[in-house]
């Protein structure tokens, strides 16, 4: 049997709330520490305790880190999902399971490894009863470590990190890892080919989740006011701001340069952010689909009254409450046209952890420069899962506070200014900020029709003139927005366009398409709407363009079709939304199906449906 080294996937099936996430991230981090490119994705239910949950880990010596639909190693700890977990092991794979689960073993084509987890835990009398189930998860960590070759030292490092160096929990957990490893060494015979070996491919990299990166990036952007309402999967962004603000913005006088406010709902969360943005603060809110729906009316007001603020939408799959704990890219057309009447939106689309950080600070510059809400669309997969990443980089530009007139500016202008006057011809007016003591500084902000001096008017000509200026502002915006990321392939006539967290899956699929099907493609990852000029060039440079995204209706495809009607026939939608992170398999099959004129419905290998027990989902 040939060894398969550093190129396989593991999935662990446990019960939600059983403490397994510590065990699973420990495995992930240990593999990362071994220098092996790795990704981890938590496929969790909307539930506090009891429902099945899975954690997938992919090790890839070649650096392909998208979700895979096959798994060579399956760890089954949850009796409720045991049958499905057993069925999901790839032929020739390995199945580790808690030996107290008494269910029929129906596979003969895989290696079976029963683990006496309860017995091993009971063997350590130092573990308090309350901790047995939690710590018991470390038995499978140790067993796996022994059987596939995870370095125990890296496991220790991961545990020390997780428990912030606290000796007692580190020891308690690590002892159980060792117990699991020792038991496996003495009792299990290796019958599968999957091994991990040290590499150097993660040197200089960090691991972080997108919400933490966004929070820290926002703080480096000078965030001053954060109002939010709890919602999965966005809560951890605002919570990370609470965690990092005190350290990053510490002052000797003990006073604060920022405020984080948990609002009573999303209406108030964005309302407060609009108020703070209006009064000159770098203001933001974070939410997910249902919250974004509630924020609609304020988004329209901020667009029309031209108030800067930043809205992070960590997308989960809708419509309505949808699947609160599953990922998606289905808020794009909604965010693009949010609000009634003619309105436009600045949307920026981070595609990895570094961009979550960078867009954290850049979003404020854009909002203040353009005096409009900036929506940052991340997703659950990027926001909540741990990803390998380059270290965060310090902002390479000073803050852009936009066109603001303070007292001395108004003195120079002899008070001659108007809030909505297009003085520079770029559609962006000047603004003053409350607290300005110049007697001519004030203006009256309103969502009703207004003239250049911000006075109420119902004059049709004035109204239309203002709307045209707003349109011009959004043309100007293109100069400031992040350009796309492009991978051009010599001689490729086929283009692929995607955005956000799907790049890993798309790039892996592109390699497969070229290798296995001889299809050469170029790739563009769009990072903003309205579309920057490089998107024009890419669309017109290719005969066929597949637009790949995680939603049902092909939302980016729709926007591209509207923006480039002359190329509409060349734009093909490869869209699929089932709440799972994109895999190379569905990207590849989707493109091939579309190329053959079929409707692309890639299939997941195993449907991971929750049992229907009527439990109420977390919101």
């Amino acid at each position: 049997m040939d060894k398969v080294v550093n190129d396989f996937s593991i999935i662990v099936g446990t019960k939600n709330g059983s403490g397994s996430s510590t065990a699973n991230t420990t495995i992930l981090r240990a593999i990362f520490k071994m220098g092996i490119p790795v990704s981890g994705k938590n496929l969790f239910p909307s539930n506090i305790q009891g429902l099945p949950t899975w954690y997938t880990i992919r090790a890839s010596k070649d650096g392909f880190l998208a979700r895979r639909e096959e798994q060579e190693i399956v760890v089954a700890i949850n009796p409720d999902s045991f049958t499905r977990d057993l069925a999901s092991v790839a032929p020739g794979g390995a199945f580790y399971y808690a030996d107290d689960i008494k269910q029929p073993i129906t596979r003969a084509d895989i290696a079976m490894y029963p683990m006496p987890i309860k017995q091993i835990v009971r063997g350590d009398p130092s573990i308090p009863n309350d901790f047995r189930d939690l710590v018991g998860n470390m038995v499978y960590v140790g067993t796996l470590a022994q059987m596939i070759g995870i370095d125990l030292e890296t496991i220790h490092a991961a545990l020390s990190f997780h428990f912030k160096g606290k000796q007692k929990p580190v020891d308690m957990n690590f002892n159980m890892v060792k117990a699991g490893a020792e038991w496996a060494k003495a009792n299990l015979e290796k019958k599968d080919p999957f091994y991990l070996e040290h590499m150097d491919k993660t040197d200089g990299l960090i691991m972080a989740d997108g919400n933490t990166a966004a929070a820290i990036g926002s703080i480096f952007g000078g965030a001053q006011f954060v109002s939010w309402y709890p919602i999965t999967p966005a809560s951890s962004l605002a919570e990370a701001m609470n965690d990092y603000f005190p350290m990053l913005r510490k002052r000797e006088d003990g006073k604060y340069t920022y405020a984080v406010m948990q609002a009573e709902d999303e209406l108030a969360a964005i309302g407060m952010a609009v108020g703070a943005g209006w009064s000159g603060l770098r203001a933001m809110t974070s939410t997910s689909g249902p919250g974004l729906s509630l924020m609609t009316e304020f988004a329209g007001l901020a667009y029309y009254a031209e108030v800067p603020l930043v809205v992070w939408d960590i997308q989960r799959i809708g419509p309505s409450t949808g699947l609160p704990t599953r990922t998606s890219q289905a808020d794009l057309t909604f965010a693009n046209a949010i609000g009634h009447g003619d309105s436009e939106t600045i949307i920026i689309l981070p595609g990895n952890i570094n961009e979550c950080f960078d867009f954290g600070w850049q979003a404020f510059d854009l909002a203040e420069r353009l005096q409009t809400p900036v929506f940052v669309l991340s997703d659950l997969d990027m926001g909540m899962n741990q990803w390998m990443s380059r270290p965060f980089e310090y902002p390479d530009k000073p803050m852009d506070r936009g066109k603001v007139l303070w007292e001395k500016d108004l003195e120079e202008l002899k008070g001659n200014w108007g809030r909505y006057v297009d003085k520079d011809g770029d559609g962006i007016p000047y603004r003053t900020i409350p607290g300005n003591k110049h007697p001519l500084s004030s203006y009256f902000t309103r969502g009703t029709g207004h003239d250049e001096q911000a006075r109420y008017t119902e004059d049709n000509v004035v109204f239309q003139r203002n709307m045209e200026r707003l349109k011009k502002k959004f043309v100007t915006a293109k100069e400031y927005l992040p350009k796309s990321v492009t991978h051009m392939t010599e001689g490729a006539k086929i283009g692929v366009i995607g955005y956000g967290s799907t790049e890993a899956a798309i790039n892996e699929a592109r390699v497969q398409l070229e290798k296995e099907h001889g299809i050469k493609t170029s790739f563009m990852r769009v990072r903003a709407t309205p579309f920057t000029h490089d998107v024009d060039d890419f669309v017109h440079a290719h005969e066929v363009i597949y637009v790949v995204e995680m939603n049902r209706d092909g939302q980016l495809h729709k926007l591209l079709t509207l923006a480039y009607p002359e190329a509409a026939m060349n734009l093909k939608s490869v869209a699929f939304g089932d709440g799972m992170p994109a895999s190379a398999k569905w990207v590849r099959e989707g493109i091939l199906a579309k190329a053959n004129g079929a409707h692309p419905v890639p299939t997941s290998a195993i449907a991971r449906n929750e049992p229907s027990n009527g439990s109420k989902g977390a919101n």
């Binding site: 691991m207 990053l248 604060y256 407060m272 609009v274 209006w278 300005n436 004030s442 009256f444």
Partner: protein, 350 residues
């Protein structure tokens, strides 16, 4: 109440050297005789007499007739006419920009008691430093005469028939929600309105002023609780109220008799002097505040005056312990962590 000018200053200017016209707004577009116009005028007088710098005031409103009125006073103040029922959140965020500023907000019974009930309750709970005036007439004017949530049961309106529901008492809601200043007045009693606005402005924290402000067009039938005739007949003031600003000791010469007078010291050193009428009401007693509101309901009284005050509760800005410099005057040096911090952050990641 007239204010004595400083020596040497022109007679028509206040302590900050401004004339009354510096506090005016645009001409009103509300109906002739609308109670809201009277309230706008009292805001102008009160802030002029208090010598408030207009640039130190932020005006807020939601949507509706009442919410139009910030256009009709204090043109030199920044203002935000926001969304229906969402004024409190705009104000809460807006006042973080510069904690030295004070909010003066105008809302209506639809804007506050119907669509805005949630935000109304939460801004009180947070004790935002703002005067929150509700121009309460029990009816929707701009959409031409529908019932609001404060309309009394049995009220008859032309196109709507008879209101079958119990009304919301905004002062009672305010007591329950731990507002720190609660008063009720009647637009037909301009002197009391002005004194209450002055006291409310001096209060540090949220000051709720529920002002019955008749709608002359849609709800001014004699038997409506929100009409001029009814208000004049049923108004039962708790006390005469006089507001004494901190720097104007000379006002204490007013002829107040011992035993009839209760003084409430405000946080800024000013004093609200309450001269009792027939009832002795202690406005620092929350239990008593609820009791008199209940009593008034049972007896069909429109009680007016200062119902409750708790002068020392920390405001929202106090709770957040903000730096002395207004947040919106901070620059990159204060807001962006130093370059070496990025390495520390990266070291904190795995």
């Amino acid at each position: 109440m007239s204010q004595l000018p400083m020596a040497g200053a022109p007679a028509n200017v206040n302590l900050v050297g401004l004339a009354k016209h510096d506090y005016r707004g645009n001409p009103t577009t509300l109906c002739q005789g609308c109670g809201h116009n009277s309230i706008s005028n009292q805001i102008i007088s009160a802030l002029y007499e208090l010598s408030v710098l207009p640039e130190d005031v932020l005006k807020f409103s939601g949507i509706g007739c009442s919410s139009k009125s910030p256009t009709y006073f204090m043109n030199r103040s920044f203002g935000f006419n926001s969304l229906h029922g969402r004024m409190p959140s705009i104000a809460t965020g807006g006042l973080f920009g510069d904690h030295t500023l004070k909010g003066v907000a105008v809302s209506g019974d639809g804007d506050t008691a119907s669509i805005g009930m949630g935000q109304f309750k939460h801004i009180m709970r947070r004790n935002v430093n703002m005067v929150y005036i509700i121009e309460n007439n029990g009816v929707y004017g701009l959409t031409k005469g529908q019932f609001s949530a404060t309309a009394e049961r049995g009220l008859q309106l032309k196109k709507q028939g008879t209101n079958p529901y119990m009304p919301i008492d905004l002062c009672m809601e305010a007591v329950i929600s731990n507002a720190t200043f609660i008063a009720r007045s009647f637009a037909g009693n301009p002197k009391q309105v002005k004194e209450l606005i002055k006291a409310a402005y001096s209060h540090e924290g949220i000051a709720i002023l529920d002002i019955i402000s008749p709608c002359v067009t849609f709800n001014n039938n004699e038997d409506s609780h929100y009409s001029y005739p009814w208000g004049k007949e049923h108004e039962a003031p708790l006390h005469d109220i006089t507001y004494v600003p901190p720097r104007n000791e000379i006002m204490l010469e007013e002829e107040m008799k011992a035993g009839e007078i209760r003084e409430v010291a405000m946080h800024d050193g000013s004093i609200v002097v309450l001269k009792n009428l027939e009832k002795h009401h202690d406005p620092t007693d929350r239990f008593e505040a609820l009791r008199i509101l209940e009593e008034a309901q049972r007896n069909n009284w429109l009680i007016t005056g200062l119902i409750y005050i708790s002068p020392d509760r920390p405001t929202l800005a106090d709770i957040y312990q903000l730096v002395d410099t207004p947040l919106n005057r901070l620059t990159e040096v204060d807001l962006r962590p130093a370059p070496d911090i990025i390495d520390k952050v990266n070291a904190l990641m795995f």
